[in-house]
Structure formats: C-alpha cells, structure tokens
Assembly symmetry: C2
Homo-oligomer: 339 residues x 2
Amino acid sequence: MRGTMKKGNSAPTMKDVAREAGVALGTVSKVVNGLPVGDSYRIRVENAIEKLNYQVNSYAQGLKSNRTYTVALLIPNTQDPFFASLAYHINRSLSKRKYRMLLCCTDYDSSQEQEYVKMAQQNKVDGIIGLTYNPNLVVVEDTPFVAIDRSMGPKIPCVASDNFAGGQLAAEKLADLGCKKVAFLRIGSSLNNEPNKRKAGFENGCLSRGLSYKMKILNDGDSYEEFETFLSSYIQDGKLAFDGIFCVTDSLAYCVIEMLRKLGQRVPEDVQVIGFDGIRHFGSMDYVCSTIVQPVVDLAELCVDLLLQENMLVKPPLICLPVSYGNGGTTLEPDKKTD
Amino acid sequence: MRGTMKKGNSAPTMKDVAREAGVALGTVSKVVNGLPVGDSYRIRVENAIEKLNYQVNSYAQGLKSNRTYTVALLIPNTQDPFFASLAYHINRSLSKRKYRMLLCCTDYDSSQEQEYVKMAQQNKVDGIIGLTYNPNLVVVEDTPFVAIDRSMGPKIPCVASDNFAGGQLAAEKLADLGCKKVAFLRIGSSLNNEPNKRKAGFENGCLSRGLSYKMKILNDGDSYEEFETFLSSYIQDGKLAFDGIFCVTDSLAYCVIEMLRKLGQRVPEDVQVIGFDGIRHFGSMDYVCSTIVQPVVDLAELCVDLLLQENMLVKPPLICLPVSYGNGGTTLEPDKKTD
DNA sequence: TTGTATGCGTTATCAT
DNA sequence: ATGATAACGCATACAA
C-alpha cells in the first residue's frame, strides 16, 4: 500500500497535470510559462490545469530560479501616517510589477532592523527597501538594497525628498506671508540622515530673506514639554515673540498648534505654523496643517524602480525628489486660489 | 572546466558548510535545526557556518517541509488609521512567533482580493488573514483563513469587535450625558458584515433608554454632502434638533464635526459626537473624538492565534471582542476621571 | 550518534 | 516540438 496511491489531499503538481493531460512534465512547464507549445498539447494541458485547479508552487520556482519576486520593506511602523503612506504606495508599485511585499515593522529598533535583514536574506528576497536607523546595519553585498532618507554608503542608493529645499521653502513661505521673527522646532533622530537637512535649508532660507530666527532642537526620547517651555519663555504680556514657526514634521506641528492654543495664541492670526510631510487625516483632501509636502507616490515608485532595475549601469548614491507647499489653514493666505 | 569549480559568487549552502566542517550534510542540517549532535561536531559545524556566513534558504526549507512561516494579510490599505493599526499589530504578533507577513493592499477591490488570495496560495503561505469585501471570494479549502469583520461561512472563523455592544454603548453614553434626541450617521459597505451591527446596537440602546433618534444611512460611493444636507434640514433658528450624534466611524465623526462647526454648532456644548474605532492621530494619547474603542491589539493577537493554532478542535465561527468608551473631548464629561 | 540517499516541485538541458 | 533527466538546497527516513 505504499507508494501506490497519490498522496492525500495535497495540492496538485505539474506531474499530476502532466499525467492528467497525457503529456510530459516539461510540456506542462512550458505551457505554464507561456513558452511555445503545439496547440493541441496546449489545449490538453490547459484543460488539465483547469480540471485539477492547479497552481504553480512559488517556492519550487524560487528554489530553482533564484528569483522569488518578493521584496522586503523595512519601516518603523505603519501607524505614522507618512510610513503608512509609503508602505501603501510601495506595495502598489511592487504589485504592478507582480512582486510581493514582506512588511517588516522595526519599531526604530536596531536589532530588529538587523534581524529583519537577515530574515529577508534567508527568504531569498529579490531586494530590500529600508527606512532604517541602525548605523551599523549589515547587508550582505548581493542583496539589492535601496535606502530611504538615509545614506548607507556608496554602493547603496538612497532616495529622499529634497529636504534642504523643503526647509528653504518653509522659510520663504513664512517670509512671503509676512513673518518677521520665526522659530524652528525639531525633534528626531540625531543620525546624519536626510530629514536633518531641513534645518540647514531653513536657516539658509531665513538668512537669504533676512528673517530672524530661533531654533529649539530636541532628540528622540526628549519630552515635547520642552517645546512648551521654550515657547512660554518667548511670551511677554500674552504676546509670542514669533509670528511664524516651522516644525520639522506635521506630527510635531499638530502638537505645537495645540500648545499654542493653550498658550492663548491664535493660529494663524497670531502665529503661522508650517509642518513637513504633507499628512492628511482620514484620506481627506485637507492637510492637517500647512506643510511641505513630500512626493510620496514618486518616492515609492522610485524606490521600486531603483531596486528592480537590473541593468542599472550606475547606481546613483542619492536622489532627492522635489517637495511642494500645501496650505492646511495654519498659515495666512494672501490670495484665494483660483483653481 | 565544467563542474570542477564551485559556482561563482552565490550564497553558501549546507553542502559547503559540510565540506568546510568535514562532516556530512545531514549533520549540518541537524545543527541548524537544533537537533542533538555530538558536541565536537556541533562546534566544527558552527565554526564553519560562522566562517562561510551561511544562512539557511527558506525556499528550500519550505519546499521540503511544506511550511513557509509566512502569512498573508489582506486589507484595503494602510492609510486608514484603523487598518494601519491592525497591520502593525498583526505584524508584531506574527513576528513574535517567527512568522513573516506578506502585506496585500486590496483597495476594496474584489478582483484584487481574489488575485491576492491566489498569489498567497501559490506562495504556499501557512495562512491568510483577510479583511475583505468580495462576497464570492474563493479560498481553497486547505489554506487556513481567518476573516476580520465579515463572516465568510462556517468553516472560516471570523474575528471582530462587539459592534452591536458598541452601538449600544454609544447610545447609553449619549443618554447618560444628557442627550434627548440623537442621530445615527452611517456610511459604508452594504455588505452584511459585523460593523453594520453598530446600527442595530445603537437602535437597541436608544429604545432601552427611551432616547428618540433619527438615522441617515449612506452607502459607499455616496457623497458626504448628503450628511450636511441632512443635518441642515434639522436646523431651525440656528438650533440643531439633535443634541447627540453617533457616527459609524471616527473618520466620519471627524468630517461631521467639521460640518457642525460650519453650521454654527458647538461641539460638545450644543451637540455631542461619538465615533467608532478609537483612532488617535500621530500616536498621541488623545482620541480624535469621543469614540467606541476597538481592541486592536487583542483583535490582532486573536487573528494570529486562531490562524496558527494547529490543534484547534473546533474553529469558532465568530468571536467578538469587547469594546470600550474613550473620551476624546467631543462629549461633555460630567465628572473628571480620577485615575 | 553520524552518514547516505531520496524527494519536495520546478526549470532547463539535453536527446529524441 | 516534445519527452526524459538532472539539478536547485534542504529535511528525513534509513543504513551504518
């Protein structure tokens, strides 16, 4: 009774299809892969596939061909709207190209990042897209890798928004909107990553416009309350010394606006606020606040392009995509839009 | 020159490790899988693994063992904060158990849902967790499946919040907070899914509390403006006929609150608003609005448990987890919390 | 306890 | 153009 009956309930294989169709294994493979096969054979194979409800086994394919059509995406989480958006659009880009996506949430944790890279490589992914923070992340040479927002060395292309220009744009906007004295509030990783160029861009913009500014720079883990203390210290007789504030992210801007209201400041009448990222809540058309908008769709597309481009002659070390300004009601608008 | 030299730059295999360590292939396999092996052998194998930087090939493992330690998650997108949260926590749960997660964003599209199910099965996933809308979704018997928010038949367990109780709770809260005449606003899928029980629960709650209510029910694709029209029609002399509104989601509540303010109604002084889901923006502690909170972490954990539980004697057809009330400032609070 | 050999489902290289 | 056969890397039943 051994070996005589077809194995129990497991999925049909090419061999089953071949037997059913009365053809050889190789012929089935060709039909499945769209290679030229005599019409009469093709029909019989296709019927057998239909009848047995056959599906290819990607694992066998991957083992054989060394291509898995799978990409791993490493991001801290999906709760942050920017990461969520990135994940969504990268997923779409990959999907369009018939690639699957392993989602790896790292919680900003270096060891999880490393763990996931290892997992991805064991899983024979065709590539990794990573928004990571581990400065010593080890990536085996032969796994294509595209970094987001942080340069990871000359052999790994990095994709980011033009954060410097974004900072400049924020300063220019505030100047255009009539601000005389502004502040820059920043909290984030102390790593040397792309978003940290927002500060330099903003300073540059302020200087070129003759805008006077103060900065408050915090690092991850610091308490937001320090911003409140900072702002309070610039209030005299109920009046804030700043008429414009640039926050390094929309998330921060969201909190700062709350603080300002608690401190009796009206936004945007007393003080205008610009954030960064271009977050919209609940898929509405409106931005959470006036903001420097990152081109998320383009960023996603570019990451995927760079990763899957086989015949890339030279991998560019850093590509910065242009940002734009979005009015979210926390700035004064001198002229109504007409479109 | 053929077959004599080790193949180029490709990753080392168990065979390479075995040769390096001077042991047999099987021994390496045992070491890798933690099976008992003589200490001297183990050391040599471990050293060889270290030296060659060997990593197992999950695809070969999966092909052989028929287990891929991979689960597919089907959700419409990651932009909606509820889906984003679900994705994150399911990812965490899976990760804890050494499972990988394929993220599949379906855009509420039936054919994409079906396409992804097929892909997942070809990819030999160990199971699928799906928040789907296709009423005719075909899932091959032997792929474990756990549904979220929608019953898909007796053989497929469904996990959801206790939406009925949530609706009741909303009605009771509004009654407790002094409302006399309330409204229920709903927009969403017309499918017979779990969230649609919020309506029945709310009605039940209103009736049991003697609360008079009106409803406005829209379907996906309808314009939110109809809600504005509806609300306007209940305004006389600047006064809204309702002093409480239950919105079927926080997303809707968010929009409705905006509408109410435009209509000159103060929230919560004139009209109190309760949403559903328990969304917080930017990972802050505060809810977007007063809300019926879904236990996302527990939902995620339960989905994974149900899916991976091998020796499940009986798959329960529907498990509803308890919801809770969260104050988000769009309701009046009679008494300060003391905790 | 360790080594050997077979097969997982597929692709690709051969003869036919 | 089609059919047989050998890998791909690993796990495992079996032999030593």
